[in-house]
Symmetry: C5
């Protein structure tokens, strides 16, 4: 049976874990889904690692990042960590990150969070269920998560 992991944070201002759960359940109704909540983004790599240790075939992490330079350095360290987890385990960890300075209003920020989480949860299921060519028909199509697709050039 397929097993998905969701790692989210108490720092986030939107309950993206709930959204991801719903989407994954809709897309793969027989799968097992395990959720893991940590304080902040820098705790996400170990959460992803532990979820994979428990047998998850793929993980989605749901990070929320503040506006300062230090928050961005934390984002960078976390991104490197999430990539290392994937390299060491050969499993996908799809990384959803919301930056507080991406939008001018809280309303818009929430919209972005919902859209990005939903689309990437679907991406994760596709990759886990169907494998390396599940997304190939969209290759080079300029897909975006949280915003409108940019589209293919030409």
């Amino acid at each position: 049976m397929r097993k998905y992991g969701i790692a989210d944070t108490t720092f986030s201002r939107v309950d993206m874990g709930k959204i991801a759960y719903k989407i994954i359940r809709d897309e793969d109704d027989e799968a097992e889904i395990i959720r893991y909540t940590v304080p902040g983004i820098k705790d996400l790599p170990v959460a992803a690692k532990r979820l994979i240790d428990e047998g998850c075939d793929g993980v989605i992490t749901l990070g929320w990042v503040g506006k300062t330079m230090l928050d961005k350095y934390s984002y960078l360290a976390t991104s490197i960590g999430l990539i290392i987890v994937q390299i060491l385990t050969s499993k996908h960890v799809i990384d959803v990150t919301i930056h507080e300075d991406e939008a001018d209003s809280e309303e818009k920020l929430k919209e972005i969070a919902i859209d990005r989480t939903s689309k990437h949860a679907r991406n994760l299921v596709k990759l886990v269920k169907e494998g390396k060519n599940a997304l190939t028909k969209y290759a080079g199509k300029g897909l975006r998560q949280g915003f409108r697709d940019a589209g293919e050039i030409d």
Copy 2:
């Protein structure tokens, strides 16, 4: 028996190790708590690693960072290191960092240090004692350490 590690520094201007010890003792009175003091933040990853080598189920690190760009680079290197320790051991290392430029007065800085250390020490105990869903009821709630909670959007 649960075993917690506390790694702190002589660079810090607040004895956060003592605060973390008290909180962890209050929250888990049967646990063993081991403290490890190093000169500065860049020594924290190996201290955390050695605490885990000794059997700690989780570690809290207590860093204090200066104001210059170089201090921030050291913060970045340390953050990457702490994340790698966690990935290689599959244990939580909750990272408390105080930046000297977070507040205008020493008094305020100390308040932040106490609040952040206390809250994250509680987070560590929750994760170690109760596991991956201990914090799920706070997921997306905009919790903050050192400052007032930002709260959930809406």
Copy 3:
């Protein structure tokens, strides 16, 4: 039989995977070529790792990066990840990256993408087929991908 991997993204606005496939096929018509499509650049290191796990002798990754500082941090994290994959596997992962701010027009951007992908696909085949001295005659020649060669000094 030689085996090449192509990892591309749905974020990209040009279907560089198709271009890389054609070039590799032209340059090494007996080889097996495996394509792997992921959402964005941060997913490329694990895709490369999985392609190597499947037996690829070398991989080309085809990334597309936005204009913001955060996109550049993602580029940095990805670059570190791709290098780690190579170090751990001792296989080449030739990294093609297109930055949206490299050109003023979409047309020019597409030209760069085609040129860079084509040249690096050829580089990959040369390294995989002929090994460490396949490119030595061009050493120090100031070759560029995406732009005109800079040439050797003097």
Copy 4:
């Protein structure tokens, strides 16, 4: 018998290796001390690793960094490397770094180099000889190396 490693560079403008040697010898007169000299800071992580491979219980590295942004990037890469050495070996590598832009005069820079090297050489011996609580009485005391102690807040 305890074994200490000293890794220094030919780039440095002060012979910090000699200073570190003298201090370690004074603090632990029975110990074996091994010195390793490399060209610049980016060579320090492998020197530290090789010293630990030879049986060193702890290492002090003595780096000197120029003023440009690129020098600072080299500092960052080196810092990450030194932390990884420590994580992989579970041994302390105390990192002394002098930045050429820390002081306005050569005289002052030399003073900083001597002070920082001396204090950290003592820190290393304390950690190696007495272990994780050797420095705990100074935890949170705002100790500084190269400059006057900042002191504890309050």
Copy 5:
């Protein structure tokens, strides 16, 4: 028999590999020297790793870096990679990097490239042939590669 590796690029505008070869041959006329040419700096870590896999006792890498911020990020990622190769293999990889913005004229840039390559090729041979104290007499002497030595303070 000693074995040296040289990793260079087609991006470089000076054939530094040839210079390094000549110097290493002059300094150690019985040694085996293996050359590996890759497209750009981000390919150097795996080239160094593969050279060490083939039995090289030490490697010199010869990188050439453009002027943009992105080039500098590539430099940072490469530097981290080269340090990781060294840590994992315990072998020296002496890193020669030329930055296009180091000099105002091509002529000067070439001079820097020749000087830096030559001096570091000698450093590599010294470290490989004579070991950890081969350079100790120059410790703290402010040696520079590509520029005039800064000299020891005082």
